[in-house]
């Protein structure tokens, strides 16, 4: 790594492309789509539609369960009338399939006692039972988004992106003896390393596009230009330390080295950071109004897809157990506190408002996705697979069966919407197996799956 030009990033990207390795292609729409098709010829393509254009996958987490009576349609089959909570999705009905009858059995206590909120979060994308611990030896399972994301390593600049509107932590242990790691993370890189989500939209934006100030952007590119030699030395340090520490500590060093490798992979991609789409302005921070906060985080997801910075994202609207208030819709008690409604009518009404508030924001996001054209000429929504749902059915009961799940997006022409499908009590993971296969990742089982949900 030596040129006599100060701080010029290496033209590594062009070099790699000649080797047939596809990396960041800023603003796909400016590129002929065959480039992509050529770029991934050697193995079964991952994250592409049947036409060879990018296919995206997203998971959105809805906290504290729902009021079932206004969430689930009364009948299965074609959706003529939407249930009240889902009404905001009206214009989008044909891109949404309501799925009922999916279970997360591993979120049940199964002998571990209290802690349904922590488990709901932890199990949602892993399908595994969280090891009950306040800290020592946290363990769950690799999450489905990461199973797909690791196949996309090196194909998009970021293999995945994690977002959350639950940035602040409370003190103490989180939920009945479970470490907070279970409650604030959806995405798990491996069974004991969560991928902590980004909760500041500005930071998420800068991770995608660099700083919006050109001076700052240059400074940061220089930093990445020196990073390769910077990281060359640390492996030796890790090896020396590795020889001296205990087995448990070695796991930590292994995770560290894995992270070093991931950062190194970014060295090439960052020098090719695309400009953000013209219609997008860098967010300035966390908006005060929650609806705006949700919108700006959804926007980060949309532009990450639009620019093909990543094809896999997870977004935790709020962690399960969140006690957020909603002054915008005049809900002044905490969500979690309300969710134990004990069938009191006014609490149920407020909870319906909260559910609807979240679905409203989701509908705005889907519309944004629908109204943006992809390189394929179809909409971003058509070439996406989006799972919206939560790990608790009814906040009053903390049950983990018949979960609220919406499957949205066209999946590149592989998913039909506009109906209500009852899976009749199979593991949620069956859906994940199916969706991973649609993404081109060949897995037969995942978590506690008992097969694949063919009709999804």
């Amino acid at each position: 790594m030596s040129t006599d030009q100060p701080s010029t990033p290496l033209p590594r990207r062009a070099f790699l492309r000649n080797l047939g390795v596809s990396i960041a292609l800023p603003m796909l729409s400016s590129m002929p789509s065959r480039l992509l098709a050529e770029a991934t010829p050697l193995v079964k393509p991952v994250g592409v539609t049947p036409d060879g254009t990018p296919l995206r996958m997203a998971f959105v987490y809805h906290p504290n369960g729902v009021i079932p009576s206004t969430w689930y349609p009364e009948t299965t089959g074609k959706l003529d009338v939407l249930p009240p909570t889902l009404e905001p999705l009206k214009e989008l009905t044909n891109s949404v399939r309501v799925i009922s009858g999916l279970n997360h059995e591993k979120a049940e206590a199964n002998g571990d006692g209290a802690g349904d909120h922590a488990r709901a979060n932890a199990t949602f994308l892993t399908g595994m039972q969280a090891k009950k611990t306040g800290g020592q030896d946290i363990r769950i399972g690799t999450s489905i988004d990461q199973i797909v994301a690791r196949e996309l390593d090196g194909i998009t600049p970021l293999s995945s992106m994690e977002l959350s509107c639950s940035g602040q932590r409370t003190t103490g242990s989180c939920d009945s003896g479970y470490s907070c790691a279970y409650q604030y993370n959806l995405s798990w890189r491996n069974p004991n390393t969560p991928n902590p989500p980004e909760s500041n939209p500005r930071a998420a934006f800068e991770r995608l596009f660099g700083d919006s100030d050109p001076n700052e952007k240059r400074r940061i590119l220089e930093r990445w230009a020196r990073r390769q030699s910077v990281l060359d030395g640390v492996r030796d340090d890790a090896r020396t330390l590795y020889r001296q520490v205990s087995a448990e500590d070695r796991d930590k060093l292994a995770a560290y080295l894995d992270a070093v490798r991931a950062v190194e992979q970014r060295v090439e991609a960052v020098s090719a950071t695309p400009d953000p789409p013209e219609h997008v302005e860098a967010p300035r921070g966390i908006p005060g109004a929650y609806s705006e906060y949700l919108d700006v985080m959804y926007e980060m997801m949309a532009i990450a897809f639009e620019t093909d910075m990543t094809r896999v994202t997870t977004f935790m609207l709020a962690h399960d157990g969140s006690n957020r208030t909603f002054p915008e819709i005049d809900v002044r008690s905490g969500h979690h506190q309300l969710s134990h409604h004990k069938n009191e009518a006014d609490k149920i009404e407020q909870l319906k408002k909260i559910d609807r508030f979240y679905v409203d924001a989701y509908a705005r996001f889907l519309k944004r996705m629908r109204d943006t054209k992809d390189v394929s000429g179809k909409s971003l929504l058509d070439s996406s697979i989006i799972v919206y749902g939560g790990g608790i059915r009814d906040g009053n009961k903390h049950d983990h069966g018949d979960l609220p799940v919406l499957l949205s997006g066209g999946g590149g022409g592989t998913i039909q919407g506009g109906d209500h499908f009852d899976a009749q009590g199979v593991p949620m993971c069956n859906l994940y197996v199916e969706l991973a296969q649609r993404m081109g990742v060949n897995i037969d089982s995942f978590g506690d799956s008992s097969g694949r949900l063919g009709q999804a």
Binding site: T133, Q136, I138, N195, R223, D237, K252, A262, V263, R266
Partner: protein, 769 residues
């Protein structure tokens, strides 16, 4: 005859004759000699089995194994040391009166205590044979990383908010096992480290312009209008405010766009203040923010902290009686500002970091000076002398980057980045049995300061004199301003006042509440704890202090007889029932729901955080209790809580939790004293103590629960210091800490010293007394 006796008799038939002989005495339970104790107050195993048969086996006896606990299977005395985790929980269940269930059997306290003593003694004896195993590699958490960057690179630049928050384990966010390194986290750590590193090794910066919108300058009491901010009043809290995070030291020029919503007989006047210093007053005649007055100020920054802007309205005017149509409200409109700079000199580029390690600007330094400087820097970064191969590796980075960029400063930046990316920097490695005093220095300084050791600690460690001077070093460290980390990180998590920032009491229900009040409450608890440390007071004051720290607002809220005129002062709580930390507003708010107080949460708080006697978490799927009616009377509320204690499923825990919390019902959901006596009833605690007023609770805690409190305090400190959860094997160490603390008048420095002696790396446990 007792209904359960036949079963016991069946079982007794298998026992030794000696035990049988004692059995008839069971019918006269009050006679102590039925179960004689040895000189240590312990039961013999046969008697212990008999007591278990009477009190435990109905539910935990082979046929029924409630909670998976089968005590019948514990046939030999050795089964205690063979199943330490189980017996630890048995001991606790007995100690907190959780078992046997209250409705089940009347179990005399002296026998309960004898059983607890017997189990604890066995566990203790076993623990003394074992060393608690634990991992020793700990990633620096968010605040440790930020503090270390500041102290290592001598750059005063706050970066904590740019780092991801850490998860916590065992109540603290510095727990080794929940501090993983993920790719996103590493990238952020590296970026933040590079940010600070670039300030330590600056390059000349081209002046540039930064645009700030008025809405980014909002004060506490004003409003946003389009992109502008409107200052309503001439109180400082209303002023427009902005923290300018500049890119580097030098001179700057700010151009501030101002207009006035004019009223009264003079135009708006505004003052621009930077870092508390007035930069000039401006008469703002402009009325349209599209055609504003441009107020230009020039300022110099000589450090890396943000420059704090404040724009005041000097002459507020409001006339509610003004005639219809005449403007009656004068406000200042801040449209935004442009800041241009930095305009730099050589001096701005010669930082304390460069001075310290290289003594000259890098472009002129010869190779040996650079190498030595890198060694000095790396030895501080790794918190021990850097090894030769580590320096070669950093030197390779230097030469490679110097070749690539032809710029020694850029090459040094790469060296700094490289050291700060190393696992030797990102992780603390302080093995328990290290004889090396560098490990101890590092452990101590992260414990007390949340940051790396200072020069004195390094020097003592280098000469092997740290252990010898431990006590004086601890005192020195506790009196250093950096010891605030103990308040802001240890105490704020232990006593949970960190959560106050996320508490949003319902303003309709509590008109007295404001964020200003909430902030005062947080400061109250912080100041209380800082004072405890600084004055080296007895830690018992956490339970019973008859003083606190208040400003005028808080003193009035508490109804104190003295109210400080200005700022915070130590004030007496005489004449009130508030005592200690647990009746401070901060605690009372975090243990309340947004619209009501919660006796259950308050009871849990005291049990869990102060005396370590919390019952297990509730079973799954139990809805929490809520108010019975729209406007519940205190009686409704107590009645609904009584359901808890009548229902056997709930009672075993709630008879422990609720009475303590009900004593605190004298305070509402934001901590105000309730004057109505409806909220006060005589409560019977789980151990039979009767209490009516919060001040009596303080007496109870101090007189009856001193050991439990000391033990809990010691455990929390040890968890925080060692970054791991404790178990039964740590009990001898905890006991020793309690003894040492008692012998030293409960002083804060005493418990700190004792924790360090027991848990610090390379500390030989002092001989038991």
């Amino acid at each position: 005859m007792h209904p359960f006796l036949p079963k016991i008799w069946t079982w007794l038939a298998s026992m030794s004759a000696a035990a049988l002989a004692l059995a008839p005495a069971e019918t006269t339970a009050a006679q102590d000699d039925a179960f004689p104790l040895d000189e240590h107050g312990h039961l013999n195993w046969s008697d212990f089995r008999v007591l278990m048969a009477e009190n435990c086996f109905d539910c935990h006896g082979g046929f029924l194994k409630e909670g998976g606990v089968d005590l019948f299977a514990m046939r030999e005395e050795s089964s205690i040391v063979e199943n330490p985790e189980l017996w630890e929980s048995v001991s606790k269940a007995l100690r907190i009166h959780y078992m046997p269930p209250a409705d089940h059997r009347n179990f005399p306290t002296h026998r309960r205590e004898a059983m607890v003593r017997t189990v604890d003694a066995e566990l203790l004896a076993a623990a003394e044979q074992e060393q608690a195993d634990h991992a020793s590699l700990r990633r620096l958490n968010r605040n440790e990383f930020a503090n270390t960057l500041r102290d290592l690179l001598l750059v005063d630049y706050a970066v904590e908010d740019e780092l991801p928050p850490d998860d916590s384990g065992y109540g603290f966010d510095n727990n080794a096992d929940v501090l993983p390194v993920s790719p996103l986290l590493l990238e952020k750590y590296l970026n933040v480290a590079a940010d600070v590193g670039e300030r330590a090794v600056p390059l000349p910066i081209e002046p540039r312009q930064v645009d700030v919108y008025g809405i980014e300058m909002a004060g506490y009491n004003g409003t946003n209008r389009n992109n502008a901010y409107v200052v309503y009043s001439d109180e400082q809290r209303s002023s427009a405010r902005y923290a300018f995070k500049h890119v580097g030291q030098g001179d700057y020029e700010a151009r501030i766009f101002l207009a006035g919503q004019q009223a009264g007989d003079e135009p708006c006047r505004a003052r621009v203040v930077i870092n508390g210093k007035s930069m000039g007053d401006f008469v703002v005649e402009a009325e349209d923010i599209e055609d504003p007055l441009v107020a230009t100020v020039r300022f110099t920054v000589r450090n890396d902290r943000p420059a704090y802007f404040r724009i005041d309205l000097l002459n507020d005017y409001y006339n509610k009686d003004a005639p219809e149509g005449e403007p009656n409200d004068r406000n200042l409109i801040v449209g935004g500002m442009e800041i241009e700079g930095p305009f730099q000199t050589e001096e701005n580029l010669y930082t304390p970091f460069l001075k310290r390690h290289f003594g000259q600007i890098p472009n002129e330094a010869p190779e040996d000076v650079l190498r030595d400087g890198i060694w000095r820097f790396a030895s501080r970064a790794y918190r021990r002398p850097a090894a030769a191969e580590e320096i070669s590796s950093l030197w390779a980075v230097y030469t490679e980057e110097n070749k690539r960029t032809n710029n020694p400063r850029r090459a040094l930046r790469a060296v700094v980045d490289s050291a700060l990316s190393s696992p030797n920097f990102i992780f603390r490695w302080e093995p328990k049995h290290s004889r090396d005093e560098f490990a101890l220095a590092s452990w101590l300084s992260y414990f007390i300061w949340g940051s790396m050791p200072d020069d004195q600690l390094f020097d003592l460690a280098k000469d092997g004199n740290l252990r010898a001077n431990l006590e004086s070093e601890i005192k020195r460290m506790l009196s250093d301003p950096r010891a605030k980390a103990l308040t802001n990180h240890f105490a704020a998590q232990w006593l949970q006042f960190r959560d106050l920032d996320q508490s949003h009491p319902d303003r309709k229900k509590y008109p007295q509440f404001s964020y200003g009040l909430r902030h005062s409450m947080k400061q109250e608890t912080q100041r209380f704890f800082e004072d405890l440390i600084k004055k080296d007071r007895s830690i018992m004051r956490v339970l019973d202090a008859d003083y606190t720290f208040a400003n005028k607002q808080l003193a009035e809220f508490y109804g104190l007889s003295e109210a400080p005129e200005k700022g915070f002062q130590k004030v007496s709580l005489e004449g009130t029932h508030r005592r200690g930390v647990w009746s401070q507003g901060s605690v009372l708010i975090v243990t309340s729901h947004v619209d009501r107080s919660s006796p259950v949460l308050r009871g849990k708080y005291i049990l869990e955080n102060l005396i370590g006697m919390e019952p297990p978490p509730p079973p799954a799927n139990i809805p929490s209790l809520s108010t019975a009616a729209e406007q519940p009377t205190p009686k409704d509320f107590r009645d609904s809580l009584a359901i808890h204690r009548d229902n056997p499923d709930c009672a075993s825990c709630h008879k422990i939790l609720d009475p303590l919390g009900l004593v605190l019902e004298s305070y509402d959901g934001i901590g105000a004293w309730r004057s109505s006596d409806d909220h006060r009833t005589r409560e019977v605690l789980f151990d039979g103590t009767e209490i009516e007023l919060p001040s009596q609770l303080a007496e109870y805690l101090v007189n009856e629960r001193q050991d439990e409190f000391l033990e809990t305090f010691a455990e929390k400190l040890a968890i925080y210091a060692s970054g791991r959860g404790l178990d039964w094997r740590d009990q001898p160490a905890i006991n020793q800490i309690v003894t040492d603390t008692e012998e030293n008048d409960f002083r804060f420095s005493a418990i700190m010293t004792a924790v360090i002696e027991q848990f610090g790396p390379g500390m030989e446990p002092p001989p038991a007394r």
